[in-house]
């Protein structure tokens, strides 16, 4: 068919009046691809995650709006993505319950359901130390989806959680058999046993066929490939919640050398994704764009500075501003070609204002580790239009 079109096109060029002025691959002059079963992505689009051995980062600087395409959602797993047959997968709920029960996927989908758009961020989502870092490098371990599933409170009710239960263990069916202990209040509050993401079944990298989703809480607690929940009157002190997702703090009463444990909440954070490394800018009007979010509720405001933090201007927030969700912000700026630094600062509805790294250091001590770092992040704008990360140094 292509050959026929090309031949007739060549003829058209000879006889046509405007044919000679159009490029040979003019898409108005050849029938396109017929309707199909699955859509495609343009081969000209190159947005991709950046994988390491243990994670893969969302290309924030290449995205638009507040949602993350499911196949660009960040990955973090502790021994790879398992291949799970949904017909064989079950969720066991036992321990301090009246009725230990097993639910298959069809059961879970029949319960009353809920959907919400919310971010998911790894608490280890921070990098700095050199100028050539993009938003993806600095903070690509956050993504946003519409999650659908059954509220965990609905299942708690079904199995009859005993009043003595204060924690539950969530266990994955991956090769790491990932486990975390979760305070029961989160289960009653807004935890979701999610089986869908952005309109379709969860993607394998996000826990197919079923995961725990804890709005606003650090990524690792959102156990993927969920196979078991055990209700208990104490935490299990798993490796992840002792030797891993804990961080040095400054304890003014009991002295130094203490560590924070069960630090679930994601502190409010924002980052400018445009302009950002590696994309240069031209002088003129620039719409500064970025994302802001908080694990404690809604974004109240975002301020932007274009003079290295000397003055701040209120950015426009894109509706809808959702609870525990990435919120797009924008600020219109005229860059006249002078060297400067631009940065954003979010305030959430609890009144928490995103700190500088200096404020974090002062509050947490000089050895504050790599978790829950949410500092204001600055981009240097060079005279030639290059945009570079302003590295933070403290160790």
């Amino acid at each position: 068919a292509v050959a026929v079109v090309q031949t007739s096109f060549a003829k058209a060029v000879q006889i046509g009046i405007s044919g000679t002025s159009f490029p040979a691959d003019d898409p108005t002059k050849r029938p396109g691809v017929p309707p199909g079963e699955r859509g495609t992505r343009s081969l000209f689009e190159k947005a991709a995650k950046k994988p390491s051995d243990i994670s893969s980062r969302t290309p924030l600087q290449d995205l638009y709006g507040m949602l993350t395409p499911s196949d660009l959602h960040f990955e973090r797993h502790h021994n790879g993505v398992p291949a799970i047959d949904p017909a064989k997968h079950e969720l066991l709920i036992h321990g301090m319950v009246e009725k230990p029960m097993v639910f298959n996927l069809a059961d879970l989908k029949r319960f009353p359901s809920v959907s919400r758009i919310a971010f998911l961020e790894c608490s280890g989502n921070f990098r700095t130390g050199k100028e050539t870092l993009s938003p993806q490098d600095i903070c690509g371990l956050t993504s946003q989806s519409e999650w659908t599933g059954v509220k965990l409170s609905t299942l708690f009710r079904e199995v009859g959680v005993r009043p003595v239960a204060t924690w539950f263990l969530a266990e994955g069916g991956d090769a790491a058999v990932m486990t975390r202990s979760i305070p029961i209040r989160k289960g009653w509050d807004d935890a979701i046993i999610a089986y869908a993401q952005n309109g379709e079944a969860l993607r394998p990298e996000q826990g197919y066929p079923v995961r725990l989703f804890l709005p606003g809480w650090e990524g690792n607690t959102n156990v993927k490939w969920l196979r078991r929940l055990e209700l208990s009157d104490q935490p299990y002190m798993t490796r992840e919640e002792t030797s891993k997702y804990t961080e040095p703090i400054k304890d003014t009463e009991r002295g130094p050398g203490k560590f924070r444990q069960f630090s679930f909440d994601i502190d409010a954070r924002s980052i400018i994704t445009f302009p950002a490394y590696p994309n240069p800018v031209q002088p003129g009007w620039i719409e500064i764009r970025g994302l802001a979010w908080s694990g404690r509720g809604k974004v109240s405001r975002v301020d932007v500075s274009t003079d290295a933090g000397k003055s701040w201007h209120s950015a426009t927030l894109q509706d809808p501003i959702l609870d525990k969700a990435h919120t797009a912000f924008r600020y219109l700026w005229q860059w006249k070609g002078d060297e400067t630094e631009i940065m954003s600062r979010v305030t959430d509805e609890t009144g928490y204002i995103q700190p500088t790294i200096g404020q974090l250091l002062e509050a947490r001590g000089p050895d504050m580790g790599g978790y829950h770092l949410n500092p204001i992040t600055a981009w240097q704008i060079k005279r030639d239009g290059r945009v570079l990360h302003r590295p933070e140094t403290w160790k």
Binding site: N79, L92, I93, H94, K99, P100, M101, V102, F103, N104, D107, R110, F111, P112, S153, F156, R157, E158, V161, R162, P163, A165, T166, L169, A175, A176, T179, R185, W188, R227, R228, E230, Q234, Y236, M237, T238, R239, T242, S243, T246, I249, D251, R254, P256, G257, K258, F259, R260, Q261, F262, S263, D265, G297, D348, T350, G351, I353, A363, R364, D367
Partner: protein
């Protein structure tokens, strides 16, 4: 902290099926700090060392001293700021060593160890970290009683939102 039930919902949706004790036992592999979940069997450092050399040393180094899979054995409290965070200085409960090894190691053959092997490896790593002596027998009774150097390092989260940075 259960909840008073005010929903206009049926008491039960009648979905799912009761779990049998046998199938719970098969999946219920976690170990709590109080020892709940520990299976029969026991281990010693000497026996553990042999298994470690065979199945673990390639990734964690001879005696757990470090390799591509990370360092398992160092000693000293966390106050020695440059010390790597390991079992000997950063794991508050000995039960976690058993639990984690059994569920996740060896990395390339997870879930392949017998309980006896896990007891032996746990004993080996606790001994190499100078927490138990080389005669100690580790089993369901003794493991929860091992007091770890990192026991009192951890404090609950005090971040609560609002203006204060913590």
């Amino acid at each position: 902290i259960g909840r008073v039930d005010t929903l206009p919902w049926p008491a039960s949706f009648g979905l799912g099926r009761p779990a049998t004790q046998a199938e719970i036992a098969l999946l219920d592999i976690d170990i709590r700090p109080d020892g709940k979940g520990l299976p029969a069997g026991s281990g010693t450092a000497t026996a553990g060392k042999a298994i470690f050399t065979l199945k673990c040393a390639a990734c964690h180094g001879t005696d757990g001293g470090g390799g591509p899979g990370g360092t398992l054995v160092t000693s000293g409290a966390a106050s020695g700021k440059r010390a790597e965070k390991t079992i000997g200085n950063y794991w508050p409960y000995a039960t976690t060593v058993f639990d984690y090894i059994r569920r996740a190691m060896p990395f390339n053959q997870p879930g392949s160890l017998t309980n006896e092997e896990v007891y032996n490896l746990t004993a080996f790593l606790l001994n190499a970290s100078h927490i138990i002596n080389d005669k100690a027998v580790i089993n369901a009774q003794t493991l929860p009683k091992v007091v770890m150097p990192a026991k009192n390092l951890f404090l609950p989260d005090d971040r609560r939102g609002g203006p204060e940075i913590r």
